[in-house]
């Protein structure tokens, strides 16, 4: 049993899992099943591991004697991290078998893994193929064969390569299918839709961007799949009123219907509104719907809770009012990028007693309109006014004073609001959990301090491009529940401020320090120490940081997104440290890190096996490094511009070797140099090439200059 011992040692490094495993040992001595379900007593790592190692034989027996039921109960608790289950299955044969039978959801990282995954998990019911760019009919046939009776859900939204017949057979043969996502299958025809229509039990179906499906195809689906609860027909340009009307007549159980960007007119709306259970309706960007159609609507849709009518450019506020009057049970309303939000529109909200969430992004609002919203609504929880023009202190204050229960507030780019608004927000809305106020340039640093002083429940805070300083950050350190903090382009912040935040906000998972030029290694070190759960960090153009920062960040084992674009002091050494320390790393941007060379990439290729997306532009990487990256089997997305020492043949070899690529950005100068058949071959594997012709630009623009430029652009 040397092998299993070896495996066990590998598990031991993982704190979370070890705790659970030891928990298991501690209770086997006294096997009462109920003790697993409650918060069982847990031994500390320190006392248990030696015991386990010493009594290796005993442990083996103990592990084997565990019933599958118990193992399932344990597995139920391992949902948080996918790697935990992997480790669990490596313990021994019975654990492996139990995990195979327990797992229901499969997300293969590569198309090639699909057969093995299907063989291992015969009871899987949910198959997410969104990471497999190419799924052939043969693959679908194997899915059909392996999961014929158990498959309930399949996601093919990112996959190509299957034919009408393939999906048709799947739909017909897997009788238990409840959910199919076929979005982006732009060549899906009516015949395939008709085949889908034969899976009678279907409840959720996504057909976004299936532009070839016409009324005939959706008609077949409507007649066949009468149990549908969710249907997404976004961007289905071939489907007209007739098809939608038939869906509304036949699929009476529909709860959620997405008709965004479809060429539908008023003709199908009466039938849609008569759906007895319709709760969520999206009519975004339906340009053929006009005032006349909406005003003449007679049907009332009492069940409707969520309505999204953003971007309906031919609809005026009068028509919106009439629609709102038809939906008395509305809870959430999105009217983004539409028209003037006036007093009359706002006053129609008066009847919507259940309205909790209003999103008016990108609209033109008036002070009186906001005042009426404040008076009409009962108690708002969520309000989004991002990019609205005409938001004034008076209007915003009238709302926040009235709706003290506000939980989420988005005033991004409301450039007219001042400290006055912020004072009323912070004084009345103490229960805010999310506040986004990017680019509220009139708010002073004193005003920003109020946020930290009053809103202690904040979980998400976006202060990008504001006048934030270290004092403000010190105040923010009062928000101990903070998970997401975005303070990019706040040029005044220094290490001291970050140290304050790092001391108290231990739950932080995401921090954005884009162009925070005052930050040095000291600040990043504080971050790495203070935020053990950190997942995402953006240090782009923080020119002050060096390899030391990366070394300290390598302690954050949960890190999966790292952006250090334009940090010229970073070298391969730092990258190597990150590679070794942060093995979950998924997205990496090292553009313009001029000193990163093949050595760093070799480490990356060796340790960061979860890497999916990388930007290598302007680095000192050569053919060797690129080819080494091919060993990262999950790699999907590469941006390779201006790699001076890259040769066409090296690029060709690397492209050929990376089997899972879905998107590659290349400089257009390479296009004639790479053999066409090779490009075609790679495209046939499901990869898309984007040829860019950006000029070569080595020198970094100082952030002050950059900000100046961007502000000038805004003024223009």
């Amino acid at each position: 049993m040397a092998e299993s011992g070896d495996l066990f040692r590998r598990i031991r490094g993982r704190d979370g899992f070890t705790t659970v495993a030891l928990d298991l040992f501690s209770t086997t001595a006294n096997p009462s099943p109920c003790s697993y379900s409650g918060s069982a007593k847990r031994l500390r790592i320190g006392d248990a591991i030696p015991a386990a190692v010493v009594a290796e034989e005993d442990r083996h027996d103990l592990v084997d004697s565990l019933s599958e039921e118990i193992l399932f109960l344990i597995l139920d608790r391992l949902e948080s991290d996918p790697l935990d289950k992997k480790s669990f299955s490596l313990v021994c044969r019975s654990f492996y078998a139990a995990e195979s039978r327990h797992r229901r959801a499969l997300t293969p990282l590569l198309s090639d893994l699909l057969p093995a995954a299907l063989a291992r998990y015969p009871l899987a019911s949910r198959l997410d193929l969104s990471l497999c760019p190419r799924i052939t009919d043969a693959a679908l046939a194997s899915v059909r064969g392996a999961l014929r009776s158990s498959l309930r859900s399949i996601d093919l939204s990112r996959s190509t390569g299957f034919s009408q017949a393939g999906i048709g057979n799947l739909a017909v043969n897997c009788a238990a299918l409840v959910e199919i996502n076929l979005s982006n299958a732009t060549d899906l025809s009516d015949a395939a839709a008709a085949a889908i229509g034969r899976s009678r039990n279907l409840e959720r179906l996504w057909l976004a961007r299936c532009k070839m499906v016409t009324d005939m195809g959706i008609g077949c689906i409507a007649v066949g799949c009468q149990k549908l609860r969710l249907l997404c027909l976004k961007w289905c340009l071939g489907i007209s009123d007739l098809g939608v009307g038939l869906v509304a007549v036949k699929c009476k159980r529909l709860r959620t219907l997405d008709l965004s960007f479809m060429p539908i007119t008023k003709k199908c709306l009466p039938a849609v509104l008569q759906l007895p259970h319709l709760e969520d309706l999206a009519l975004v960007g339906c340009l053929s719907i006009d005032d006349e159609g909406l005003i003449s609507l007679k049907q009332e849709c009492k069940s409707l809770q969520v309505l999204d009518m953003s971007n309906c450019q031919h609809v005026s506020h009068a028509a919106f009012s009439s629609v709102l009057n038809k939906a008395p049970g509305l809870r959430q309303m999105t009217l983004a990028y539409n028209c003037l939000v006036t007093h009359s529109l706002a006053s129609s909200l008066q009847k919507l007693s259940k309205l909790r969430c209003i999103r008016l992004d990108g609209s033109e609002v008036t002070t009186s309109g906001l005042g009426t919203i404040a008076n009409s609504c009962k108690s708002l929880r969520e309000l989004s006014l991002s990019k609205c023009s005409g938001v004034t202190d008076e209007g915003l204050s009238s709302i926040v004073m009235k709706h003290k229960g506000l939980v989420k507030l988005d005033v991004t780019c409301c450039r007219n609001i001042t400290d006055f608004s912020l004072a009323s927000i912070t004084s009345s809305c103490n229960s805010l959990t999310s506040l986004r106020m990017e680019s509220c340039t009139l708010v002073s640093k004193e005003g920003l301090r109020l946020i930290g002083q009053h809103c202690h429940l904040l979980e998400e805070l976006d202060l990008t491009d504001n006048d934030l300083d270290d004092e403000g950050l010190r105040a923010i350190s009062g928000c101990q529940k903070l998970c997401i903090l975005k303070i990019g382009i706040c040029l005044k912040i220094r290490d001291e401020g970050l140290i304050h935040v790092a001391k108290s906000c231990s739950k932080l998972q995401e921090i954005d320090l884009y162009r925070s030029i005052g930050i040095t290694d000291t600040g990043v070190m504080a971050i790495a120490r203070g935020f053990p759960l950190l997942q995402t960090i953006n240090l782009a153009y923080c020119t002050g940081i060096t390899d030391d920062s990366l070394r300290s960040l390598s302690k954050c084992s949960n890190l999966y997104t790292l952006e250090i674009r334009g940090c010229p002091q970073v070298s391969s050494l730092g990258l190597a440290a990150i590679s070794v320390g942060c093995q979950k790393l998924t997205n990496l941007d090292i553009k313009k890190c001029y000193h990163v060379n093949d050595a760093g990439i070799l480490f990356l290729a060796c340790f960061s096996q979860n890497l999916r997306q990388i930007n290598l532009s302007y680095c000192s990487v050569t053919d060797v490094g690129l080819l080494a990256l091919a060993s990262v089997s999950c790699l999907q997305n590469m941006t390779i511009l201006h790699l001076g020492r890259l040769t066409p043949s090296g690029l060709a070899a690397a492209l050929l070797a990376c089997g899972g690529l879905t998107k590659v950005k290349l400089h257009s100068s390479f296009k004639p140099l790479v053999p066409k058949p090779l490009l075609k071959h790679i495209e046939a594997r499901g990869c898309v090439f984007q040829w860019r012709d950006k000029p070569f630009q080595v020198e970094l623009e100082p952030s002050e200059v950059w900000k100046q430029h961007s502000q000038e652009m805004h003024v223009e």
Partner: protein, 511 residues
């Protein structure tokens, strides 16, 4: 003619401001001596349309409405006589007297106007207007005079007719003002001004048509007619339809029966000089010009007006020469045909071989060439197929069908094989469904007549029979003149009931 003469009188009493145009329209064919103005000719043509088989000359809907501006002044004077006028169908001297005295007043008015014209000479604008006014008033007076005189006629005639005529007369009379008002309304709707005012007037008219005095002498069938005419529907066809059908009591019209050879003859108009045949009288008249200058005069070229115009018009109806046909006069439930064109189309459709085959689908056959042409317009273009095998020329019809029937799906052309495999099975059920539905309609409308209508199903062309409108709307949809109206007009979700069943059941028969 007597009905027509009395109609305007009644109308005038009710719709004071609109009477001028109505009178001129309704009365014109019978009154060749009225001073001609373009409007009147216009309406004369319009009137003729319903009686003639000729296509109407282009109707300029322009005017005849000038009367409404000037008649308001006489409104007060008119109102007292309105109640009396309802009694007009039974002649009484009092009414005559009141009419005459009214005419006297009217003449005085005209006198006044003419005097004022004399006194203020030189102003061209006003003069023209006043001349028009005088012309209109005089026209009106003449019409009134004649119609007053006309009230004497029916009494004479009543005595001559059989026992039922009073019913027949009242039926027609009750019916006509409504239709007249509809026509008038149609004209008005072109000029949107004062629309609401006119709607009110029309309501008055309708209620007048069904007034107490009338109702006492109306029988059920008459009431049905007047009620079933939709007032909002300005379609001129309704007027024609109302005249036709089973509700016209036997004896109230003259029945003509053409021989088979006559019906099938290619030409009906022959040149007396060279013997050449023509389908249309107008073509003959154009032809006649070649025979000499005497045929080029306006009178010779003009459309021959009804020669019976000065005499009371006899309503002519036609019988089909095919014995046993419901359209044959020997039939127990005889339903006459209205025009010669109806006779021709009916005879060809029902009793002749279908000799015209569609060149596209090679399966559909027709006996009337116009039917073939209509079919060819749609044949082969975008066949929309249901899983039951039924085909539709329009997608919305298919979707209406699919929406209604459980389990039917639109058929995708690609899996033709599967569809044809299924279709045989389903089609049977579908056909029977259709039959049942149709019979259902039939029974509901015409319960006493079910066996009868089952009989004629084979004989008749099916158009009227299968249309659900058939009995609900007093056979309006079943008229032979408008056999295809049901195919194109209706837009409602259930419209395919009429069109669909009409179109596919005969086809199933052929399959």
């Amino acid at each position: 003619m007597d009905f027509k003469l009395r109609r305007p009188l009644e109308a005038s009493s009710n719709a004071s401001s609109s009477m001028m145009s109505e009178i001129s329209r309704n009365l014109k064919p019978g009154l060749p001596f009225i001073p001609c103005d373009s409007t009147n000719i216009c309406y004369g043509a319009r009137q003729e349309q319903s009686f003639s088989e000729f296509p109407p000359p282009q109707v300029t809907q322009c005017h005849g409405l000038y009367a409404r501006e000037q008649k308001t002044e006489t409104k007060n004077q008119l109102e007292p006589s309105s109640a009396v006028n309802d009694l007009v169908m039974d002649w009484n001297p009092r009414l005559m007297l009141s009419n005459l005295s009214f005419l006297e007043q009217k003449i005085h008015q005209v006198q006044d106007i003419v005097r004022s014209i004399i006194s203020q000479e030189g102003r061209a604008n006003e003069l023209a207007a006043q001349q028009q006014l005088v012309t209109a008033d005089l026209t009106y007076i003449i019409i009134q005079l004649i119609s007053t005189a006309g009230t004497l006629l029916p009494n004479i005639k009543n005595a001559l007719l059989s026992a039922t005529p009073p019913v027949a007369q009242t039926g027609v009379v009750a019916n006509l003002p409504v239709n007249a008002s509809q026509k008038h309304h149609e004209v008005l709707s072109v000029e949107l001004a004062k629309a609401s005012e006119y709607d009110e007037l029309i309501k008055d008219l309708n209620s007048g048509g069904e007034g107490d005095e009338l109702i006492k002498c109306l029988n059920n069938s008459v009431a049905e007619v007047s009620e079933s005419i939709p007032i909002e529907d300005h379609d001129i066809k309704d007027y024609d339809d109302g005249m036709d059908g089973e509700n016209l009591p036997p004896g109230s019209y003259e029945v003509l029966q053409l021989e088979k050879e006559e019906i099938l003859a290619p030409h009906t108009h022959f040149c007396l000089i060279c013997g050449k045949g023509f389908k249309r009288d107008a073509n003959l008249r154009m032809h006649m010009r070649g025979h000499g200058d005497e045929y080029k005069t306006a009178a010779a070229l003009a459309k021959p007006s009804k020669e019976a115009s000065s005499e009371p018009a006899i309503i002519r109806r036609y019988s089909c020469p095919f014995v046993g046909c419901k359209r044959n006069k020997e039939h127990k439930k005889f339903q006459p045909l209205k025009t010669i064109l109806c006779v021709k189309n009916h005879y060809k459709r029902s009793h002749c071989d279908k000799s015209y085959t569609c060149s596209r689908c090679k399966t559909k056959k027709f006996s009337v060439i116009a039917d073939l042409k209509t079919h060819e317009k749609h044949c082969g273009r975008d066949k929309w197929i249901c899983s039951c095998g039924t085909t539709f020329s329009r997608k919305d019809k298919l979707f209406g069908h699919v929406a209604l029937f459980q389990g039917h799906t639109p058929a995708i052309p690609m899996d033709d094989a599967k569809v044809s495999g299924m279709s045989d099975h389903v089609q049977v059920g579908e056909t029977t469904n259709g039959m049942v539905a149709n019979m259902g309609y039939n029974f509901s409308g015409n319960a006493s007549d079910d066996a009868q209508s089952l009989d004629i199903k084979d004989v008749d062309d099916g158009q009227g029979y299968f249309s659900p409108m058939n009995f609900d709307a007093c056979n309006f949809g079943g008229l032979d003149e408008f056999p295809r109206s049901a195919y194109d007009v209706s837009e409602s979700p259930f419209s395919f009931l009429s069109t669909g069943t009409c179109s596919f059941i005969p086809r199933n028969g052929e399959n």
